[in-house]
């Protein structure tokens, strides 16, 4: 009976997801540690996309990366190179990597190295640059490049040493705690960042860097509430990667956007991407900006919702819902709605406001199509022109056709195997 096959496969997938042990091990250089990374390879957020189709923030980030790598001296050269065919563009997801917003990763960038201790697989993510005019929003001014260099030359090596002194950090536990302190792991990361800096501070002090340098590093982390985002994301990534390729499973293992398209991947459908137009975020814009300024949804950060946090844990972070004019009760309802489309309740990530009920985890494409309920995603809004930065935050949903197309492919697969 086909239903039983699917239920058994989904059960296996859920077991893998819930048993994942994302652990922060180290910091490395992209080219050295990310599989398939090369000097002229640029990784980006979301499903595959060509240079010609990239939206403002992603284009800007590519330009910035090429300048940072020394492959181009200015914007003009960078654009020429970007369009030349010499640069390989590939989704971060194809390389066990995730990136927020434009999500651009280039060879010299330092990256967090995580391992799913239970299943052995690795994941990677750059360190968060901060707020305002940054590469991930498509900025590529001198200031941006300078900051990237500082991160490469000071931030990363110092933190690498601190980590070595500290030892691996159990991120699953840290995320669990953050969820009980008002974070949801995507758009609200203040608690996680606080927990991280608290954990590392004694060891940052013990590194062999100057006092001035240690102060710079501590201040840098402290000034950026979203520093922890670049750890929740790869934690989710290595958790989900272990659950790939389970035949007959209808559970979503990846959701990601590149600023033009939204894409999903399903465990039982291998490496296939199912894409649709990236949506416009419904939310609040900073004063001076209007809807016309917004870029479509962008970033790999929706891996948070994929693993059951972010928008799915909104009941843990009621402040977020105000972005769409909701009340604290509405935040609870957003989460409650997500139980309708997920396979299980998380065994570790619990929400105090729901009497410590586990977050809704494991999106089932059948349930999305049946109920018409789409995953709720909390996200930032980027200006559509490169280099301006974040202009707001709010809620967005994936296009339904991703799930419908995946369902159709799933049934066709089974038909080809004569199982329906």
């Amino acid at each position: 009976m086909v239903q039983e096959r699917i239920e058994a496969a989904n059960k296996k997938v859920m077991e893998i997801i819930l048993n994942g042990q994302p652990t922060l091990l180290d910091i490395g250089v992209a080219e050295e540690v990310i599989p398939g990374m090369a000097k002229k390879t640029i990784l980006h957020a979301g499903p595959p996309i060509k240079w010609g189709k990239m939206s403002g923030p992603l284009r800007g980030a590519v330009i910035g990366a090429l300048i940072y790598e020394g492959l181009a001296v200015d914007e003009k050269e960078a654009i020429k190179l970007a369009a030349s065919g010499e640069i390989s563009y590939d989704p971060c997801h194809h390389h066990n990597t995730v990136g927020p917003m434009a999500g651009v990763v280039s060879a010299s960038m330092p990256v967090w190295i995580l391992q799913n201790k239970k299943y052995g697989n690795y994941s990677y993510c750059t360190l968060n640059e901060g707020l305002g005019k940054v590469l991930r929003y498509g900025a590529y001014s001198d200031e941006v490049i300078k900051r990237l260099k500082w991160m490469e030359n000071l931030l990363a090596p110092l933190l690498k040493q601190a980590l070595k002194l500290h030892g691996p950090i159990d991120l699953k536990t840290m995320i669990t705690q953050a969820l009980q302190m008002g974070d949801e792991g995507h758009n609200r990361n203040r608690a996680g960042t606080s927990l991280l800096i608290r954990e590392l501070a004694p060891y940052i002090i013990q590194t062999k860097f100057s006092e001035k340098e240690k102060i710079e590093v501590l201040k840098f982390i402290n000034s950026n509430d979203h520093f922890f985002l670049n750890l929740t994301m790869p934690a989710a990534k290595c958790t989900m990667d272990a659950a790939k390729n389970i035949e007959f499973s209808t559970i979503v293992t990846v959701m990601a956007r590149n600023g033009t398209e939204f894409g999903i991947r399903v465990s039982g459908l291998g490496d296939r991407w199912f894409t649709g137009p990236a949506g416009i975020v419904d939310g609040l814009l900073f004063p001076g900006y209007s809807a016309e300024d917004a870029n479509p949804d962008i970033g790999d950060s929706v891996i948070a919702e994929t693993v059951g946090i972010g928008g799915f844990a909104m009941a843990a972070a009621p402040a977020i819902v105000q972005f769409v004019g909701g009340s604290a009760k509405d935040a609870v309802n957003f989460t409650l709605n997500m139980y309708e489309i997920t396979a299980a309740e998380n065994s570790i990530y619990k929400i105090p406001a729901l009497d410590f009920r586990g977050t809704p985890t494991g999106i089932d494409i059948r349930k999305v199509v049946e109920t018409g309920i789409l995953p709720s995603i909390n996200t930032g809004i980027a200006h559509k022109d490169s280099g301006i930065g974040q202009i707001g935050a709010g809620l967005v949903k994936p296009p339904m056709n991703c799930f419908e197309d995946a369902l159709q492919a799933f049934v066709e697969d089974l038909e080809a195997k004569n199982l329906v």
Partner: protein
């Protein structure tokens, strides 16, 4: 061109709240640009970008709250500031309880649910009912527009699993003394009912309550259960359950005339059991019922009388009369008030089975009755919106309710109809049922009173009197106040009879009395 600003020191509001307020203030006509926020560097920068930064604002700290706006004049600015304060102090109303989106998730929230009540569009209702049965839950299916094939499949599945499958088109059921969908609040007692008709169950249960007795269960089967194709599946299961129910001493069965084979099967089941039973097959042959040892009910009221008599150990007698004192006086007086041309009865019914019962009684007493649901094909009205001679209309029938709420909920159709009857010179008597209970309008009589008054006015203008007779199907425990409802009718000169059958017989008696006196 006016730039106005406001500073409140050490007044904290969270940034998101302030962003929302900024957006709302921007919508005010006459506001060109605005920023509402705490005195952070970022907000000062944004204010600067909007040319809203003043030297005073430059000095404030992140602990200070500010509004800066550019408006067409000072009045607008004042309005905007007041609006901001309004929004800051506004409290959001609590949203309601969470409503799960599917049966599956509802079952997660209430795993011990034992009855699924479905009133979804017919197109989808069967699928959900099937799902419920597959989850081993009893079902009450209020929806109609479910196909006969779907009904059969559902009832077979239910039977297989030993579950109740009440419906489709089941409007009334009282299980464990809970009034479901359109049902009344009835005293607890030893009479168990299985019925293929909603208002039939309502009238019988109400009568039982009025007679001082009560019910154990009232199981609805839906209107088509006793058709040949369905074969009475739910009727069987219901009857068997009542036979095995220690709290049921007498069984009552209510239906339109069933398929003959099905009737015999059902009556056999009753015979096999040890409990006495009263059977109402509206207008059906009482002899068949007697053959199988059950007692035939001649009307809904009579059915109730007999059931109650059995529980009291009293003799079983046909009740086809009146319980109203001085009934003859009433008949004479009413008949006298009518003019020569006034000879017809018009029944405006919200309950289908009550309309049916009325037609059965009347056709035996006064001849041909026309209707949208006639007893014989020849009786079908060519235009259901226009009465002809003696007409009894079931306003709850599909033809009237397409795209409109049922008349037990929304009186509009009957309100319109009574006015057109009022204009007809040949109308002698107007009959109306008022069905109380859960599900029904909160004041069925109150809704009709103005139209009853208008009817009187229309007739009076032409020197006519129209006799109006009603029965109120309700108990004193129903959410609508039975006594009040009856009182309101009496105050308008409507004759209130204790049952539908008596109301109908009175109408016939008045019309016949007139006929005879001419």
């Amino acid at each position: 061109m006016a730039l106005k600003y406001l500073i409140r020191e050490n007044a904290y509001y969270d940034s998101v709240t302030l962003m929302i307020i900024t957006r709302e203030v921007k919508k005010i006509k006459g506001v060109k640009e605005v920023i509402v926020g705490m005195g952070t560097e970022l907000n000062k920068e944004l204010a600067g970008n909007l040319n809203l930064l003043t030297p005073e604002l430059q000095k404030i700290t992140p602990n200070d709250f500010f509004i800066s706006l550019d408006s067409v004049d000072d009045n607008i600015a004042k309005k905007a500031f007041a609006f901001v304060d309004e929004l800051l102090s506004k409290k959001k109303a609590e949203s309601e309880d969470y409503q799960p989106s599917t049966l599956e998730s509802a079952l997660k929230y209430m795993p011990d649910a034992n009855l699924i009540l479905i009133s979804l569009p017919g197109k989808y209702a069967a699928r959900e009912a099937k799902n419920a049965l597959l989850n081993n839950k009893h079902v009450m299916l209020f929806s109609d527009n479910v196909t006969l094939e779907e009904e059969i499949e559902l009832k077979k599945l239910a039977k297989q699993r030993g579950l109740l499958m009440m419906g489709p088109d089941c409007g009334t059921a009282i299980i464990n003394h809970v009034a479901l969908a359109f049902s009344n609040v009835i005293r607890k007692g030893p009479i168990g009912i299985v019925g293929a008709s909603g208002t039939g169950i309502q009238e019988v249960t109400v009568m039982i309550d009025k007679l001082g007795s009560g019910i154990s269960q009232a199981i609805g089967t839906g209107g088509r259960d006793l058709k040949a194709e369905v074969g009475g599946i739910m009727m069987f299961e219901g009857l068997k359950a009542l036979q095995n129910d220690p709290l049921t001493e007498v069984i009552v069965l209510i239906s339109k005339p069933p398929d003959k084979e099905v009737a015999r099967k059902v009556l056999s089941i009753l015979k096999e059991g040890e409990k006495p039973s009263v059977v109402y097959f509206a207008g059906g042959d009482p002899e068949v019922i007697k053959e199988y040892g059950s007692i035939p009910g001649l009307s809904l009221e009579d059915t109730a009388h007999k059931a109650v008599a059995i529980t009291k150990g009293m003799s079983i007698e046909d009740f086809a009369g009146f319980t109203v004192t001085k009934i003859n006086k009433i008949i004479q007086e009413e008949a006298k008030k009518l003019k020569k041309d006034q000879r017809y009865i018009r029944g405006l019914y919200t309950g289908g089975t009550l309309c049916d019962e009325a037609m059965i009684i009347l056709s035996a007493l006064i001849g041909d009755i026309y209707s949208n649901i006639p007893l014989k094909p020849e009786g079908k009205l060519s235009d259901i919106n226009k009465s002809y001679r003696h007409s009894l209309i079931d306003l709850g029938d599909d033809e009237f309710t397409r795209g409109k709420p049922h008349p037990m909920i929304d009186p509009y159709v009957r309100q319109e109809r009574i006015l057109s009857e009022a204009k007809d010179k040949e109308v002698a008597v107007i009959l109306m049922d008022f069905v109380l209970g859960f599900g029904s309008n909160s004041d069925p009589v109150g809704e009709m009173i103005p139209y009853i008054q208008k009817t009187r006015e229309i007739a009076a203008k032409e020197g006519r009197y129209i006799c109006m007779i009603s029965s109120v199907c309700g108990t004193e425990e129903d959410p609508q106040n039975l006594i009040e409802q009856e009182k309101k009718l009496k105050e308008e000169g409507v004759i209130v009879m204790p049952s539908n059958a008596q109301a109908v017989r009175l109408a016939a008696a008045i019309v016949l009395s007139r006929r005879n006196s001419q």
